[in-house]
Amino acid sequence: MSVWEWFTDPANWTGENGIPVRTWEQLEISFFAMAIALVISLPVALTLGHLRKGVFLATNVGNIGRAVPTLGVLTILASIPEIGIGNLAAILALALFAIPPVLTNTFTGIASVDDEVRDAANGMGMGGFAILSKVEVPLAMPLIAAGIRTATVQVVATASLAALVGGGGLGRYVVDGFALQDNTLIVAGAILTALLAMAAELLLSFLQRRVTPKGLRQAGQAEVEAQEIPAAPAPA
């Protein structure tokens, strides 16, 4: 069966192994993983960035975090009876995997807000929280958003690994295709995952532009690309 035939076969669009269900599972896994990653990393990075403390932690978590093999974390989590096999292990492993880019970018964005700007805000009588929320976060927004975007795209692409530990998602097609010696299925799974990751990329870069304060927009794009911590290519 050709890949085209596979995609046009109505049977592949229905049921629990159909494209809509598997795509939804992939999104679900990615969503929860990102939610956990944000809840953990944003408060830490905002606080540390505002206090200008923990440069070592923030940058090294970012650098070394990339090297933690997701396969290892995934199998470790799946081996813990309380977590077990399936989507939960994948969600937790992916959350861990998404923390470094968000943490590092957010910290760097906040910490590199000009001291003069902060002094000016202070002079206007703003307290620490007001400076953070009204000055630092808006100014750091391009970098923060870039970190979230990078992490999300990676998570969406990597969520395929859930299938290795008995979970669902689009990786199901790849793993099953491998077991069945069915290259059509592997290619179909790869195409669907890549499309979903690209859709996430487009959506988030649109949102990123929307949340970037107008004054920063002009310089915004090129500047962010240039100083962005280059994406960790870790769809592993």
Binding site: S79, G84, I85, G86, F178, A179
Partner: protein, 302 residues
């Protein structure tokens, strides 16, 4: 870089190593990452070395990866299971819907397998008495609560409440697996969860109640260790799964055949289970377990 890669590739391709001895070409023995085949591969390697044949082990994943590599001579030997291999070759030769040729009769199945293997450049040595059948297991609790001891019992039980089944992704399309359960035992399957072939995923899924019944290997050490009960195959769904060495035909020599035959002859199903338990439960090293067995049987001395 090229040199480094070549060096790495050298581990798997037939050895033009400087140390190549009179044993000639290196025999690379492929194995899945299951303990049992790793033990068998280690035995093959050690017994070949003891007979002056240069041999190494390459750990791979599944039959789908290993057999094609064996057919092209990328690897030269692998431990296999009679029924499963026969059906794999049958499907390769006659298409995915080919009628099943492997049966409970080991001798007849072996003849069939040899016939299918010959044109594929595969040589199958005599099967051992030791077997490791695909089996279906439930948790001890589930078996007691529903009074299950055989697969026929499971068929009856499933009429009331259809079961969830766990197994390798190919299970729903395989006669040994879901198709056979449905046809021979009239088991009503409510849903199928793709996991692995008797590996950790299936065992965890059973323990966590994610599936009622899962495909396991009867001699696996982790079956008993995890309080699972194998349901008796009372209607003979599973074919004979005797262990046999499969070889790349151009690499076969008398020395190799005789050495590997000696392992097959020494092995029994009971011993196989003990060896698996030594690795999977007592955490002894694969090579050590294999060596101890071969020494005990006197197969390492010339």
């Amino acid at each position: 870089m090229a040199a480094a890669v070549v060096a790495l590739a050298g581990c798997s391709s037939s050895g033009d190593d400087a140390g190549g001895d009179a044993g000639g070409e290196e025999v690379v023995i492929a194995t899945t990452n299951f303990s049992e085949t790793k033990i068998l591969a280690s035995m093959y390697q050690q017994v070949l070395e003891a007979n002056g044949v240069n041999a190494s082990v390459k750990e791979l994943t599944t039959r789908e990866v290993i057999i094609p590599a064996l057919q092209t001579g990328e690897v030269q030997a692998t431990p296999e299971y009679l029924g499963s291999l026969t059906e794999f070759l049958n499907k390769e030769a006659n298409g995915a819907d080919a009628e099943q040729v492997a049966t409970e009769d080991a001798a007849a199945t072996y003849d069939e397998a040899v016939r299918l293997a010959e044109p594929e450049d595969l040589t199958l040595l005599e099967p051992s008495a030791a077997q490791d059948q695909n089996s279906f297991a439930v948790t001890g609790e589930f078996a007691t609560a529903n009074n299950l001891t055989t697969l026929s019992d499971l068929g009856t039980y499933s009429q009331e409440s259809a079961i969830t089944l766990g197994g390798p992704p190919e299970c729903p399309k395989r006669t040994f697996c879901q198709l056979g359960l449905e046809e021979i035992y009239n088991v009503q399957v409510d849903s199928f969860l793709p996991l692995d072939a008797g590996g950790p995923l299936t065992i965890q899924a059973l323990q966590q109640g994610k599936v009622d019944t899962g495909l396991v290997f009867s001699s696996s050490g982790s079956v008993s260790a995890n309080d699972l009960v194998v349901l008796e195959d009372d209607q003979g769904l599973q074919p004979a799964e005797n262990i046999l060495p499969a070889l790349y035909t151009p690499a076969v020599t008398d020395t190799i055949s005789e050495a590997l035959d000696s392992v097959s002859q020494a092995l029994t199903t009971d011993e196989l289970q003990q060896l698996n338990a030594a690795v999977e439960i007592d955490r002894q090293s694969v090579d050590q377990v294999a060596e101890d067995f071969l020494t005990e049987k006197g197969l390492l001395s010339q």
